[in-house]
Symmetry: C2
Subunit: 297 residues, 2 copies
């Protein structure tokens, strides 16, 4: 029996992959059963229900993401940055559960600190190590866009530093709960690239989203933007704000790890700062967990 049951168990989603002894992904599953949907003490049962069939076939399960947080399955304390692949591999949190033939471990997250203020990630570190392996590089500036985007600086194969931005969450708050939502259409159409880029441009030359967000209202008030284009424009304002805050040199590369749709937005936005994108998909998680499994006997 060889291979790996790889899980990425986040706040609102749970993805799993069955990986064979050669590191190939045989099958994938995804559920909306994030850790918030699991009752206290309920992790072994949910695991058995959703992955028991695979667990019976596998010698090892590695789990990354919020499953290692205080509200998760078992606490896997953060490793402090700079942290390399070996630091993460050496701090797996082994847990007792499931079939006796299966060993299960949770991957620790990372922490860092800027001016006395801590920052944290859980799950993204595995994607970063996976992406470095997939791209065969050891130095990179990377972004993992999402509810809480992570900007990561990797040097010599280690994660030297990272910063979180509540970009996706701010978009959702403004889209759904702010006064701006009154003039926005109920449903998002597909991306209006011109409106998105207009938002990025405005954000890059401004000082704060507190001010630029108000332009969604005034452009509508003066009939200068059709309602259908406004969600794309707002998305450009928020992602542009995230980019404005990054120390990036024109001509550099940024590795973007996200869905195809989000990657397209970052590609458009980063182009305005003269930055090229290297895209890596969801396989980075599986690559990272597989590489961790290879450090164990």
């Amino acid at each position: 029996m060889s291979g790996l049951l790889a899980l990425d168990w986040g706040t609102t989603s749970l993805r799993g992959a069955m990986i064979d002894g050669e590191g190939r992904v045989v099958e994938e599953r995804a559920f909306a059963t994030g850790i918030l949907a699991v009752p206290p003490g309920g992790f072994p049962t949910v695991f058995e229900d959703l992955f028991g069939d695979w667990a019976a076939l596998m010698p090892l399960c590695l789990i990354s993401g919020m499953a290692g947080s205080k509200q998760g399955w078992a606490l896997a304390p953060y490793c402090a940055c700079p942290a390399g692949f070996a630091d993460v591999a050496g701090n797996l949190r082994w847990i007792e559960a499931g079939q006796a033939s299966l060993r299960i471990a949770i991957v620790p997250g990372l922490s860092c600190e800027h001016d006395g203020v801590p920052d944290v990630m859980r799950g993204e570190e595995v994607q970063v190590f996976g992406a470095l392996a997939l791209l065969d590089i050891s130095d990179a500036t990377m972004v993992l866009p999402g509810t809480h985007s992570k900007w990561v600086r990797a040097r010599d194969g280690s994660i030297e530093d990272f910063r979180s931005f509540m970009t996706g969450e701010f978009y959702a708050l403004l889209r759904q709960h702010s006064i701006l939502s009154r003039t926005l259409p109920a449903e998002d159409d597909e991306l209006d690239e011109a409106a998105f880029s207009q938002g990025v441009t405005h954000a890059l030359r401004s000082d704060s989203l507190l001010q630029t967000a108000f332009s969604v209202r005034t452009l509508s008030l003066f009939d200068r933007m059709p309602a259908q284009a406004a969600p794309s424009y707002l998305s450009g304002l928020v992602i542009g704000e995230e980019l404005r805050a990054q120390p990036l040199d024109a001509g550099a590369d940024v590795v973007v790890m996200g869905s195809a749709a989000l990657t397209r937005r970052y590609e458009l936005a980063l182009a305005q700062r003269g930055i090229r994108v290297r895209a890596v998909g969801s396989q980075a998680s599986w690559q990272g967990l597989w590489a961790l499994s290879q450090t164990l006997d």
Copy 2:
């Protein structure tokens, strides 16, 4: 019969004052009947219900605020900046309503534009002119804090330029609807000045609220901030972000027009940039409307 019925009719509130022939405020009233609470066509009735008794005693009523917007009583188009007191006085929108003995006019708002993006205010222009009169000055940098804070530059008695910041609204969104709300107490205690100032400091040395807001979560996660202090800290982050975006010279004055509680927060925050505060209360609206009434025969 002399005197003025002065109304400040905003989005969510309606304030009124009876002002005698000498410009003294005789009585004030406040209601939660902002324009959003008035059904289409319902303005004359609401006015008669809430202020009919005063209207019977007065020759003139001037109304500032959102009552002059598309969703208000009658549209009073914006005056473009730079705009002086005479521009506003010359563009009152007279309306027919109420007792035949009463003349009613709505005060226009102001608009300006930066890099092709419009900005607007309604009601604050009257407060600005009132404050300039009360303080007997013609040049000032002013802030009217609130849901949508306005930063105003007055020169030679005119409003040269202004900018809106969705500061109060962002605070409410983060406080009530974001992931941060999970670790915040249900009720705001009174201001924790140390935590507030810590938030301001962090915002002033950072680049974006997208990043600093995440520290509310991480400081809690690492037990570095008691939950009771976190709302004050978040308020400091948001107000500090607004201040970070202002071109202010240390040693300058800023006129703050707001409630005593908000003025105290701006005083604390502006002190970190070496700025002195001159405070003006709600009387600025009445002073501004009274001054407008004196331009009419």
